[in-house]
Subunit: 410 residues, 3 copies
């Protein structure tokens, strides 16, 4: 390949890297905004330290597990070494026509911490900090790269007769986070006061501008998440991905607006925000395959699903303060299935392969999360004590308030 196209391809993947990076701020803002002021420092702390430690962990071990290369064998596990170092030709198009070795690493590394950050929202306001960080490092450094390898590293899901298809990670990133979120929220139990006398009590988020910021930043970053997953700056492919991504997000907002208005008779901003994310997660598996109309339908259904997901999890008393399980797990599954329903790959054998991917990755993540959270629960404990939960994690775990100058209610 010529140097000019290599340079512009690599530039786009680097810009996409920055866009995915800022999604971590998006998650921080969304999760902080949708929870209470007394736990804000805790959320900010988790969402700051996890991308930071995640980057280092992924450099040390994760990238090597996810892309084992020559060392690969057997389709389910492999490792290329420890740490990262530039291979011969790693700066040239001989490594890849779309990017250098270092671009490859840093783009993938920005994705990696996402899986743990998704969990963070679902377990918010009651999980102990230390155990959560421990879980996150294992999830980012080991669980995510192993299941990621199954498809993106050339593992068994990629070598099925009809290969599993997951363009930018509806399953590989979002469901992975979603399964961890489900297991974490289940093992922790609901926040004090959330379900009482058979009733679900809304615990409103303390800062809706912050939550809105978060969702817009996530949408902003998603252009890099999906657009960068083209792995080159190919004009036709990337611009189609931009259109499907934007329209699915928009249709997700619309779907959630309709569903929540019909259900609750109110214009609920948090549902619209989650609808946008639902649309984005839903299109992620097939963003490069769909027509604009397909994208609108897929996003719209995602937006409806997220509203019913939130209602459903409350019914079974899985307390997910920010709706992360509905957004990332339910819509992650939906988006992955949609690949087999819409577009060029539609058909029975593709749907079957999609189910194989969803279930195999789901099974591994559930087992992994359960094992880690369960051992932590039985040893150091994973939940803060009652007094700490009521007073807030900020003052107890961090010795500070997020907004010390303002008077709070109660």
């Amino acid at each position: 390949m010529n140097q000019e196209l290599f340079t512009v391809n690599n530039l786009w993947i680097m810009v996409a890297t920055i866009l995915v990076f800022i999604m971590h701020l998006g998650f921080a803002a969304l999760e902080a905004g949708l929870t209470r002021a007394k736990n804000t420092v805790n959320i900010l702390f988790k969402n700051t330290i996890i991308p930071a430690l995640g980057l280092i962990t992924y450099a040390f071990i994760g990238f090597n597990l996810m892309y084992p290369g020559e060392a690969f064998s057997g389709g389910v596990f492999g490792i290329a070494g420890l740490g990262i170092s530039l291979p011969e030709g790693g700066n040239t198009s001989a490594y890849n026509e779309g990017y250098t070795f270092f671009t490859d690493f840093i783009f993938q590394a920005m994705f990696a911490a996402t899986a743990a950050t998704i969990v963070s929202g679902a377990v918010a306001e009651r999980i102990k900090l230390g155990p959560f960080i421990f879980f996150s490092l294992l999830y980012v450094g080991i669980c995510y790269p192993i299941v990621g390898m199954w498809k993106w590293g050339g593992g068994f899901l990629d070598t099925l007769a009809t290969p599993f298809y997951d363009f930018a990670g509806s399953t590989i990133v979002h469901s992975v986070g979603g399964w961890g979120a489900l297991i974490g929220a289940y093992l922790l139990g609901p926040r004090i006061g959330k379900y009482k006398d058979g009733k679900t009590n809304a615990i409103p988020g303390h800062n809706l501008p912050l939550a809105t910021f978060g969702v817009f930043l996530l949408w902003f970053g998603w252009f890099g998440f999906n657009g960068g997953s083209v792995l080159s700056a190919d004009p036709g492919a990337v611009s189609l991905v931009f259109v499907t991504t934007a329209l699915a997000a928009a249709a997700g907002a619309f779907g959630a607006l309709l569903a929540s208005y019909l259900k609750f008779k109110a214009y609920d901003i948090t549902m619209v925000l989650n609808g946008i994310l639902a649309g984005l997660v839903s299109i992620t598996a097939g963003a490069d395959l769909m027509s604009p109309t397909d994208a609108v339908i897929i996003g719209f259904i995602g937006g409806i699903l997220v509203v019913f997901g939130v209602v459903l999890f409350d019914k079974i008393k899985i307390d997910d303060p920010v709706g992360a399980i509905s957004v990332h797990l339910i819509c992650g599954i939906w988006g992955t299935l949609a690949v087999g329903i819409f577009g060029d790959l539609s058909g029975g054998s593709q749907i079957l392969s999609q189910l194989v991917g969803i279930f195999s990755i789901g099974a591994f993540c559930v087992l992994f999360s359960f094992l880690v959270f369960f051992v932590l629960k039985k040893t150091v404990g994973i939940r803060v004590d009652e007094r700490e939960e009521i007073e807030g994690l900020d003052i107890n775990e961090h010795g500070m308030h997020a907004y010390p100058d303002f008077a709070t209610k109660e």
Copy 2:
């Protein structure tokens, strides 16, 4: 054209698309920050749902009205069909040397919702949600694309003997929004308590960091708004646009600082913020034509105008909570005229063409906005009732507070 230049051109327009996208968050933050806490959810809701529905509307009808192509006839109206679908060669430089068909659509679509978002600020804190969304969809889907076509779609303003010139939309985007804002604010009337006993009472914005965020994000996005309007990555043209855009914004801040200090004897952050926007709107029509010195002068005058605009509209009791009419209408007109005063196109016949553009587009927007708002006013009503306005729109229209954990004054 060769594939390399086509790829880099297209990449820049896609990056510019993302930058214009984030301006919607900028508007949301600015408008929420400059209004009261009791109406924050309402503002966030509007500024989230309008870009979302706007994207879908623009895909369905707007883009076809704005770029009617073959179907075009008569110079004032045309339509290319409904929905968007890739034409033959739409992914190649045969479509355009600067971008693919899908890049073209998504870049234009991000612009489109802006016009309605500008209106949102001026009618804030008292308009009913449903009618406003209805107005917005018509404005984004029909009004904006029709007047946009007059110039950018090859209509009559583009075929004048001396063609009307509006590089990135001082008139076509900002004045269009500004006229809708003026009509909306006029038909709604002022907020309760704003003008009493012949006096204007300041109703301060509830969150100035949020407003500051908004303006910086708008400035950030404007590099894509103006820079992307070069419609290629041409190094000389785009870099000049970056310089004129940045210097006009800076000079707008300076102009507003001086004017507001002389007038009010205080360092008013909201005036400086609006001064930045004033500079940006003012340079938008001629950002590709001006020297750095011209840009400073144009932005500086814009910054002064915005201060006097705010005073003027208060004098005639047009209540515009965020100063949107001064920023987008007054400076939109000023920037459009400046094209005929400064730079290569200066001269009487150009000024005349600029006036033709300003007036024809203004007349259409005024008629369109008046018609829609007036019919809405006489049927479903456009203003919330007094109790709702005093209690706040958040609790009445949305059933939630933006900051439920914090104690408020009064």
Copy 3:
């Protein structure tokens, strides 16, 4: 050079320009978040007006001082004229293979205001607005460009036998800001109540989500600050810089987490945030030279240093509300020295040259800052009076509150 590579190179420097631009919002958010609500408008005002006026000042004089070109003589001072105007061939690769003349200017201009913005944090909550703006303009327009020229404009630090090395400005940007911050904070004295009866009283920041936003935006922008300093889109060089920048930031967070946990037994979010910045400042001088492992070590040490820096300055009663001196001066020095310790340039003669750079630039900045602040102090005064400081600068200098709808404590 061919047009394709020139276009993609220039595109990257323009994108990097926008990323550096948004760092000004990052500084505004960080500094506002880490100080009290009663001084928020003042901080926002300073951090808005200084980049604005800084851009104009740098266009008028700074760029000409920093890159004197032909006019250059003697290695310590030169000037190319006043204002900026396109030289012949300024739009072509004949000017530079990486960027046009206007891209060169605007990228440098975005850097320039940073130096003053760093000072802003250290002198917050007690400095008079007018004198600070005056200082800032001189610092951005004269001091920074002169010392910048010593290296980047081809001055004496660039022509040493072993040239001083400072890739993106650990010394030239960050220490320059840091020295001004140190002198300003020293001449102002501490805030009322900070040091009493031999004890240091923490004055907590009023909005930690805002501070977190600030740091993430700074990290986001730093990819442009360091990545753009490659001065082309060279795939190997830019992608290495992305990796070293990201890993150093991550390791800085980790270092500060460990050091602050060991010292204070609490998970202090403000320390982690400053640790990220510490890592970023530390890697800046050698981001293009280091291996990923080097970057982790350099960032990690930076993160530890910043914690001890904060403790140290409190011990000697230099009151720096946001930790700017520790972040930018101490880590700026550390990062500059690290160039001589790690990587290809390690060795005694390089360390010596690094010391020459650190001391010569430090001496000039200390003298310059002292002179300007001292003259201001003895004439118009630099500190607000006691009543104003206690009531807050917002209501006294600006006549407004940042959050008028919320009840505050006390």
